[in-house]
């Protein structure tokens, strides 16, 4: 659906809002199938959405609001105007390439096509099996349809019936009644295996020369939603062109690993001559595939120095202004000058993954945004264990899944089985507000709406004093508040109201 995009003044928009529905004269002739419009005031972000019902040729009339006084070409009928959250110009597919809207443009808004898997998408065979199960009185989840088809063919009738009955009863057993205190159950179900973990490991487990935090420290890290995890790392999957080609993988690793001058060369300071010598370490530089030319091109970006290549392994660096302070500063600057690689990624290792049957790269350090942009990387599967980074690059919904996946992995690596719904509840609680929040003072517990609940958690007097000053009201809706007051909590039996039915005899 085509939309009309235009820039307008605040005063004009005010007028439209006040008079809508109204006619509006514009100096542009829109295409025929335009039925909606977006207005911007700053050329790039759209703040208003309008519904356009008809487009006519311009003629003078009193009823028409005018965009400007002269040069008007068409009248559009605006049905309604709605203020919307700002959407950028990049959300539209335009007829021509524009960086900003100066006057008018037409474009289509990109829409994410989202489809729920529903019964309509089942094949006939699947439908048959599901209907059959339904008619026998068993409720089977759709995801099991394929397996049921297989078993229906291979199993004798009485055993098949038994199977359905078993699935149905197992599902029923796992159902939870309304008002069940799921939070407490989740907390204990994760907490108890957590105590086992402390006893077994508080160490690092090596993954081919690489350290990854595991066990309890990692679980605490996830739940605390640390900005930077102690061992960020990435698993980079490659696309078809790269994943079987060892040479290309080696090349990719070269471009991944962040190499500074100090990693491949020695820097010698001569105080008498007031100069620095960069001496290439042959062994280290061969390992990292860095040549002297790479260093020379990296030096180009540094200001205030004059450099000369002395021979095939030494570079002489002189200062433009000679001073001891400057000399020292330049030495420090040279040490950390990056030659090549992706920022923050300190090491990368390729392994032939037996499950994949292809090369997979593991890294120390994480930079999801830059890595996803690299050639040869399969952006759909590449993964980082830095949850906050996932949130920033891919959004909260991805962060929710990352929290779940990381927690599940740390627990299952220790051989602990926690029902996935407990972990899902935790990750949902951490992300439902739209951003990742930690469990604890700064996060979930510290931002409860009830004063008494916050006071019950930490720094009691501060919360109570503040609430008293601001005159906060506590509706006593939660658990902690009701316990403090001495009422039954609104969970389980306490949440149920009884009514006298009367005698109907």
């Amino acid at each position: 659906m085509k939309a009309l995009l235009w820039k307008d003044t605040k005063a004009n928009i005010e007028k439209i809002i006040q008079n809508a529905p109204c006619y509006y004269g514009i100096d542009y002739i829109p295409g025929k199938n335009v039925s909606s419009g977006y207005i911007t005031t700053d050329k790039s972000n759209f703040e208003y959405e309008v519904k356009i019902s008809s487009i006519e040729e311009f003629k003078k009339s009193d009823k028409v609001l005018l965009k400007k006084k002269t040069g008007l070409k068409a009248i559009i009928k605006i049905e309604n105007v709605r203020k919307i959250d700002k959407i950028p110009l990049s959300d539209f597919k335009l007829n021509e390439n524009l960086n900003e809207i100066k006057t008018f443009a037409e474009g289509e808004r990109f829409v994410v096509d989202y489809k729920e898997k529903d019964e309509a998408s089942l094949s006939n065979e699947q439908k048959e099996v599901m209907d059959d199960a339904e008619s026998r009185g068993y409720h089977i989840p759709l995801s099991l349809a394929d397996k049921l088809i297989k078993y229906k063919k291979s199993l004798p009738e009485d055993k098949y019936e038994k199977l359905l009955k078993r699935i149905d009863s197992e599902l029923k057993k796992r159902e939870i009644d309304p008002y069940e205190a799921v939070g407490i159950i989740a907390a204990q179900s994760i907490g108890e295996p957590g105590t086992q973990m402390t006893m077994r490991t508080f160490h690092f487990a090596g993954v081919v020369e690489m350290n990854v935090t595991l066990g309890l420290p990692r679980l605490i890290e996830i739940v605390d939603a640390r900005r930077i995890p102690s061992t960020p790392s990435m698993t980079i999957y490659l696309n078809d062109e790269y994943k079987h080609n060892e040479e290309k993988v080696r090349g990719l690793i070269k471009n991944l690993e962040n190499t500074a001058i100090i990693d491949v060369a020695d820097i010698i300071t001569d105080v008498g001559e007031m100069d620095l010598t960069i001496k290439l370490d042959k062994l280290k530089s061969n390992e990292r595939l860095v040549t002297l030319t790479d260093i020379l091109s990296a030096l180009e970006k540094i200001k205030g120095i004059i450099y000369n290549q002395m021979d095939d392994e030494r570079i002489l660096v002189k200062l433009q202004q000679e001073s001891f302070k400057k000399l020292y500063q330049t030495q420090e600057q040279l040490k950390s000058t990056p030659i090549k690689g992706v920022n923050k990624i300190s090491r990368a290792i390729a392994r032939l993954d037996p499950k994949e049957g292809a090369w997979v790269i593991y890294t120390q350090g994480s930079n999801l945004k830059d890595v996803l942009n690299m050639e040869g990387v399969d952006a759909t599967r590449t993964y980082t264990n830095d949850i906050i980074e996932v949130e920033n690059v891919l959004g909260v919904e991805a962060a929710r899944n990352a929290i779940y996946r990381e927690a599940e992995n740390t627990l299952s690596e220790q051989g602990l089985n926690v029902d996935k719904r407990h972990l899902m509840l935790v990750s949902d609680m951490m992300t439902f507000s739209g951003a990742v929040r930690a469990v604890g003072r700064q996060g979930i517990s510290g931002r409860k709406s009830s004063v008494l609940a916050r006071a019950a958690f930490e720094i009691t007097s501060k919360h109570l004093l503040k609430a008293g000053l601001l005159g906060e009201i506590d509706p006593l809706a939660g658990v902690a508040e009701n316990i403090i007051v001495g009422q039954p909590v609104t969970l389980g039996t306490g949440a149920i109201d009884l009514v006298y039915k009367g005698n109907k005899k």
Binding site: D497, Y500, K504
Partner: protein
Amino acid sequence: MLSMIFMMLTKFEKARIIGARALQVAMGAPVIIDIPPDVIDPIDIAITEFDNNVIPITIKRKD
């Protein structure tokens, strides 16, 4: 006539009804159906009444 409408109760609702009725019985309320003379525990009496669907109490569900 007994109410024929079948109502699925959660375990909490069932517990709450039986609890409330048992309290009434314990405080001397007349028992609605015939109970064997050897059953004297008010909770047992309330459960029997519940199973026979004679307790004059229902649940008001919040929406």
